[in-house]
Structure formats: C-alpha cells, structure tokens
Symmetry: C3
Subunit: 134 residues, 3 copies
C-alpha cells in the first residue's frame, strides 16, 4: 500500500479533467489493485466522466447550477458568499472520493472516462488530494 498527496493548482469554478495530475503523482502501480483518490475539501468533489468533448464540462456546470441554485431563500449558511452553501451540497452529491481498479499496472478506465475535479467555489484555490494505492 502506497500513499501520495497532490496539491492541484487553483481552478476556476466548473468541471475540469485532472487525470494527468493523478497519474503524475503515482510512480508505479501494481499488476492488480485499486486506487482511492480523496479530496480534503467540503466545497469541491471528484468524479469520473467523459473526457473527450469539452462541451460536456460546461453542461455539467450549468446543470448543477440549475438543480442546486444559489440564493435559495431557505439558506442560512451565508457568511462565505452565495456560492458557498450550494458548493457544500454539490460536493456531497458527487462525493469526496473515487475508486478506480488497477489492471496490468494501469488505471483500468473505460475508453471515454477521465477524472474530474468538480470545483464548486468561484475562487476555491488550490485543492489537496490524498491518493492511496493498494
């Protein structure tokens, strides 16, 4: 079992493909295994989705903004700005970690799959990840 940390550069609000940052952080992989990638934040999340067409990323952002809107009248956690409380909710919807099987010393992803950083704050800053490889 090996563990690595990655600090992502600050990304703007939205969905971003970060597969290369993860791969660069792992010097070697076992022939069979599993990797868990965990984000140490409560207003951003990780997901796995389509990594080919960038229009998918924009549609994700607009869809999440529609079904978890800002400025709901019932929000009471307001101190950090109108993007903050929706960011917490969105991060629990996508989740704080992903797991990927390792086969033949590589991530065994499907053809179209890549790793997404889901940045839900307007200015979230650098984000810290913990990668655990079995």
């Amino acid at each position: 079992m090996q563990q690595y940390t990655v600090t992502l550069p600050a990304f703007p609000r939205g969905f971003h493909i970060i597969t290369k940052y993860i791969l660069n952080a792992i010097p070697s992989m076992p022939s069979i295994g599993l990797v868990n990638i965990f984000i140490q934040h409560t207003s951003a999340g990780l997901s796995i989705n389509e990594a080919a067409d960038p229009t998918v990323l924009t549609d994700f952002e607009n869809s999440f903004n529609q079904f978890i809107p800002e400025n709901q009248t019932f929000y009471t956690h307001l101190d950090e700005g109108s993007d903050d409380m929706p960011a917490h909710i969105k991060s629990s919807i996508v989740g704080s970690s992903i797991s990927i099987p390792i086969s033949n010393h590589k991530f065994n992803l499907g053809t179209w799959q890549g790793i997404y950083l889901c940045e839900f704050r307007n200015y979230g800053g650098p984000r810290s990840l913990v990668i655990t490889v079995f």
Copy 2:
C-alpha cells in the same frame, strides 16, 4: 486481491437489480474483506438500494428524469441524442463504483439492499464492470 470482469447484457433505460450477475462472477470470497465494483462507462452508474419492490425502480427512473431533464436549452453536447448529456450528469450523481463489505465469505448487505445498474441511455448496450475483491 482478486479481479474479475463482467459484461452485463444490454438493459433498457432504467434501474435494474444486478446482484446475481456480480455474485456469479466471484468464485470465492475471503472471511473479511471489501469488494469494489466499477463501471467503465460515463452514461450509466452503479448504486445500492431497495431490491424487494419493483415499483421503487420505476420511481427512481421518473425522479431522475425530473431533476435532470432532457432538452435543457443550455445543453451544448447534443451529438449523441437528447438522452446523452442527462445520462452523463446522472452517472456522476450516482457514481461509477460501489464498495461492499465482505463478512463470513459473503456480501454484508442489509436486508433490503441489492446492487443497481442505473442505465441512463435509451440503448446503452452491454456494460463492462471490473470487480476487485480484497
């Protein structure tokens, strides 16, 4: 650690209980462990939910269609049909993998729990899973 692959038959759009396909793919389980089941697709997902009453499956489908609708005016990823972009979003909401504890050589699921394939495309075709057992 053992790893297995499963190709599910094509299921129609909707939520389907696939527990038996997973169990059939695993020849033996350790006394204590964990299994991770990963789907190699970006328009279908895996979940764990109620496996007793089939009306639950229909209500799931209708609810997901309501809060992530097709034909949103803001969608730009349209080439693969009106069911495609919502399918990507729904798959990130339920997630691309599930983990289940193994106890006494069996899945330690609750009484009502089963494994769901969440097929979000109208014609998704066969779906590939990677099962990793610790």
Copy 3:
C-alpha cells in the same frame, strides 16, 4: 484488515455529524491505510462535509427536500409513507459508503471535514454500519 460494526442511535430526519461514533469503534489504525464505512440501509446514506457550522446541516435538509420532493404524482411506491420513496432516491444520491485515507494512524480528513449520517426517514430508527479498515 479489520472489520467493526456500529449501531447508531436513532437520529431524527436530517443531517448529523457522527465522526465520534466511527472513531470510537476503531481501536487502532495502521500508519497508512484506508477505511470504508458502509450503511446497511436503503433510506439513509453517508457523506463527508462541513462539520463546523450547524446551519449547514439544516440547509442540506431543506435543499434535498426541494430537489427530491415528497408526494410527487408519479411515485408508485407509497406503502411506507410519503417520506419513504424520496428517502430511497436521496440515499442513492449521497451513496451508501464513504472511504477515508488513514495517515499517521489517523483519519486524514481536511480541516473542515466530518462524517455525516444522512437520515432521510422521519423515524428511521437505529442504523447499522460496517467499518472495514485496511
């Protein structure tokens, strides 16, 4: 690999921080590892989110009730009350298990992160968890 079970006391409907119940159930942790926490129920879930400001918990409850409402005309699974079918859907949205890296014999959570029980039933009763530590 170690496995533990926890029975949480009955919590009212809503989001609750249960980090201490999990920590109390684990007598010792490895220097590097991963913990998986699994809930054996289909109308409650687990998540990781902000553990500092209790207003976040209320906003979570109100938001989930808004985007997965009770009494939808299309619901057919009605026998267990109007809170039941939305509870199933919400539990698949947040998920039935979480994974947390272990570093230096402790959960390697971010500064603001805590473990949430997401209780989606009005009277869900005690909830059973299975904790697997690698």
